[in-house]
Symmetry: C2
Subunit: 250 residues, 2 copies
Amino acid sequence: MAAVENVERAQSQTVTALLALRDLIVNGELKSGDRISELVMVERIGVSRTPLRTALVKLEQEGLIEEIPSGGYAVKAFSEADVFDAIEIRGTLEGLAARYAAERGVAQMRLAELRRCVETIDNTIHTDHMNDADFQTYLHANERFHALLAELSGSPALIREIERVARLPFASASAFVLAEASLPESQRILIIANEHHRAVVEAIENRESARAEAIMREHARLSHRNLMLAMRSQKTLDLVPGSALIRRRA
Amino acid sequence: MAAVENVERAQSQTVTALLALRDLIVNGELKSGDRISELVMVERIGVSRTPLRTALVKLEQEGLIEEIPSGGYAVKAFSEADVFDAIEIRGTLEGLAARYAAERGVAQMRLAELRRCVETIDNTIHTDHMNDADFQTYLHANERFHALLAELSGSPALIREIERVARLPFASASAFVLAEASLPESQRILIIANEHHRAVVEAIENRESARAEAIMREHARLSHRNLMLAMRSQKTLDLVPGSALIRRRA
DNA sequence: AGAATTCATTCTGTATACAGAAATACGAAA
DNA sequence: TTTCGTATTTCTGTATACAGAATGAATTCT
């Protein structure tokens, strides 16, 4: 078992505990339903109970763990429906962000940034076989595109909410990239996704707010399809971040 | 200054601290930008620092306070735009909830509950002058309607998110009721709002999902109008819960 | 008088001690 | 062997002590 270590030296104990706990949960070392014993975690992570408890409160707000009536916390379990809904919520909020961007207008410089992301993604996916470096580049550009879009809404509250729902690992923008790669439909899906990106940039530029909103909603529905495909076998599901939290129905 | 007391005896210190702090912030005793001194609050609320800090972490997640870079928390300030956006986010999420309810179908019994809320509201607003009891009845029925609608989505994640955004006092379902009452347009607005309620129930019953979604979005836009009306004078703005957090622009 | 610097105070982040409640294991009785 | 009751252990919620950092005040120098 890998020891949990501080990668960064300058961070607070609370952040250390938060990252370590999130890691343990997402990687499945703490399984759904498991009670999280504070003393065990104190030993394992190497912080005292105070920052650990602070981290637990934050994780509960994030939705990864839930309070046990008799006290303490347990790791949450997610059904396929839960994941589906989380994706739809993200799509709805990103749709609102795109609409705001289109209605309120954005500087050409920011649009150019979006276009650069689209180009970068184009360059990585139009190849016969993506290697690890391609994946990293793709992941980064995709995350950046979605983060940028949220920012362009100009609404701090909306940015916050999108970040919150995207913090559920299986609802993040790039949750299904790895799973996709192992599918035969892989390249086609990535091409379609990037076409959505291209179209929403165009819609924002033309101030077509309804179109911008609809595109981002449809974009999230690609994730719905990926989810269904990934759920078909444990092998592909294992490639989805946070898959340890998802219980497949019998 | 009213002393902060435990109303319920059986609740935890953390809950005591949370309720007390929320009260102080919403009622404006702690003003926007004020640093929240833990020791002062310990003295004022009568709990130790540990549960107080837990409550602070939760309030930060709720969005009422924010971390100060150098440590500690300060009460957040909200612009008119922030409030506007919070209302729009709530409307968008409630729209999604209504759509889910329509798509997935709900039992007649639950629909009947919704209709009872609509009737109750009808009975309270079709009178020349609403008294305090009418207000309380209205408030209760309105909150219940919105809570029920969230439930009917059948999505725990969505219920959670709606509850979260509605926890901002000025974004709650009934935030503008008191302010409305002091406006000449008062009764007309309440009648329109309840017509929205009636229409969304009908849409859900007929499985008209797009209509159900659109209605709830439009419903939230009534709050937009109320916000603008309330912002015109400090007197009406003071009637909005959490108004102390809203700074009117010069 | 104004600015800079130093010192004292205050505050937060963290660790730890303690008490009451919950969970578990053990033993006795049917 | 199974079930019920009891005792022990473990756990969480809370209070508090401590250290380093930040803030503010006072003093000194220009």
